[in-house]
């Protein structure tokens, strides 16, 4: 009996030891869900571009890591990490309690609210829940925005779930949807709703709460045991914030502030 127990313990020690040994090489595979403009998108020739691509490459350089990008659709992105298809996720993933049970988050590197978008000329009052009965809303499947509309409006809105944010945008543009609930920067780039001649407009306030759904910002995600790797990236994030690289990159893609008071985390 004792022998068996000892063996089991030995086995468990080996588990952790080998797991680290296996992940020990310096080549890091980063997973990202494409497209999520302006954070990431593909050019017609197939090249990856966007804020998170630039940021990720910068972070890897700072951390002295050799990084490659792996494209992964959103609904499989956490299981893919856990089953070692890649070593980290850098894909606008919001820190939520449910996800924190499964993965280890870095410090957040940006935070943006979510917005309701509809066609100009439509009169929709989000705060009046009864008036929303039967309207359709598009969200990307498995995102915090999916959770939010499912939890808050599941009983009145007709929720349509898509594989990518681009699919949602296309169907709102085509007139298939009454509403879209989208991340602010993505909505800005897809619907140009802040411009006077846009066909789309924001409805109601920008939404950041409850934190239990929306979290405290987007962060990289790692396997829970890869604490050292997460720490390397945490330091790199603090560095790019401190030396102004983050601001420089941000200004290339956004004319508003998506940054966080990162040093204090």
């Amino acid at each position: 009996m004792k022998k068996l127990l000892a063996l089991t313990l030995l086995g468990m020690v080996m588990t952790t030891a080998t797991a680290q040994a296996r992940d020990g090489d310096d080549e890091i595979r980063l997973a990202i869900d494409v497209p999520y403009e302006p954070f990431v998108y593909r050019t017609p020739s197939g090249e990856l571009k966007g804020f998170e691509i630039d940021l990720g490459n910068e972070l890897c350089e700072r951390a002295n890591l050799d990084c490659t990008w792996v494209e992964q659709s959103w609904s499989g992105i956490i299981p893919g990490l856990l089953s070692r298809k890649y070593d980290a996720i850098l894909s606008s993933m919001a820190i939520t309690p449910a996800r924190a049970n499964q993965v280890l988050f870095s410090i957040p590197y940006y935070n943006t609210p979510s917005v309701w978008i509809t066609r100009r000329g439509r009169d929709i009052d989000i705060s009046d829940k009864a008036s929303l009965e039967g309207l359709s809303v598009g969200v990307q499947r498995g995102t915090i925005r999916d959770s939010y509309v499912t939890q808050m409006y599941g009983d009145v809105l007709d929720i349509r779930r898509y594989s990518s944010s681009q699919d949602v945008a296309n169907d709102l543009i085509a007139g298939r949807l009454d509403l879209s609930f989208e991340d602010y920067p993505v909505a800005v780039d897809t619907f140009h709703f802040r411009e006077p001649d846009s066909k789309f407009k924001q409805v109601g306030e920008s939404i950041k709460t409850p934190t239990s759904i929306f979290g405290k910002g987007a962060a990289m995600a790692f396997r829970q045991r890869d604490k050292a790797l997460a720490e390397k990236f945490n330091q790199a994030i603090r560095d790019v914030y401190a030396n102004g690289t983050y601001d420089k990159l941000m200004k290339q893609y956004f004319d508003y502030d998506i940054s966080l008071p990162v040093g204090k985390q």
């Binding site: 086995g11 080996m14 588990t15 080998t18 296996r22 593909r42 050019t43 017609p44 020739s45 197939g46 494209e71 992964q72 659709s73 609904s75 499989g76 299981p79 893919g80 856990l82 089953s83 070692r84 298809k85 681009q166 699919d167 296309n170």
Partner: protein, 238 residues
């Protein structure tokens, strides 16, 4: 020439991916099909039951569901096995179940079940007197298989195999759903970015028709070859 808005080269790459997936899963399906047919024709009760279970289960579930199951769940399952190998025998391997592997394995498994049925029927259709004649000549069972059973079986199996191949080819489009950049996915991506649904989908549909037509011609030629000595070709039915 039509203007594909910069997506032309990638569409061609995607077509290549489609063909790769189709050919590799066809090979897997043929191997599985032969194994299944032998298992079903064998006298081992267990083998027979196993083969029946495989063909029944696989043909009862949509291909897309199996593909999603394998793509999202396969890595977890495979990791369990490789972890076990590692702790038991110190063999360190990592098998990645990416979109390509998941697609090929799923399609191979599904059509293995269909091929199994086709092969089984074809084996049964071979005249047993000919096998006996082979035995009487003192041929080894391997020689009988190669010289008598296989060529004759192929004659009966070809129409069914041809049909299965056509269905398999179209099934490869599903790999685009799990994210593999085959020509359907590239066309869908281009459609969404440019809002031109027909500009990309019609050429892709034409490529499918082209591959199908070429295959039809190829199967007909093979048919002719395996029918040597049997007068008219079997009619293209089934």
């Amino acid at each position: 020439m039509i203007d594909l808005k910069g997506y032309g080269p990638r569409l061609l790459e995607g077509a290549l991916v489609t063909v790769e997936v189709a050919v590799l899963s066809l090979l897997l399906a043929l191997i599985l099909g032969l194994l299944t047919a032998s298992a079903k024709l064998s006298r081992h009760v267990l083998l027979h039951r196993l083969a029946t279970l495989y063909t029944t289960l696989i043909r009862g579930v949509p291909d897309l569901v199996l593909m999603l199951l394998l793509f999202f769940g396969g890595q977890i399952g495979v990791n369990m096995i490789t972890d076990w190998l590692y702790y038991q025998f110190d063999v360190d391997i990592f098998i990645s179940i990416n979109e390509f592997v998941a697609g090929v394995v799923t399609i191979g498994f599904i059509f293995g079940a269909y091929m199994g049925e086709t092969f089984r029927g074809a084996f049964l259709a071979v005249d047993s007197g000919q096998l006996e004649a082979g035995r009487a000549y003192g041929m080894s069972s391997r020689l009988i298989f190669r010289r008598i059973q296989f060529p004759q079986m192929m004659r009966h199996a070809l129409p069914g195999l041809g049909n299965n191949w056509m269905v398999l080819l179209k099934t490869t489009a599903l790999v685009s759903v799990i994210g593999l950049s085959d020509m359907v996915r590239i066309a869908a991506e281009a459609t969404k970015a440019t809002h031109e649904p027909f500009l990309f989908m019609v050429p892709v549909a034409l490529i499918y028709l082209l591959i199908a037509s070429v295959s039809e011609w190829g199967v007909a030629r093979l048919q002719k070859r395996y029918n040597v000595g049997f007068g008219e070709a079997d009619e293209w039915n089934n």
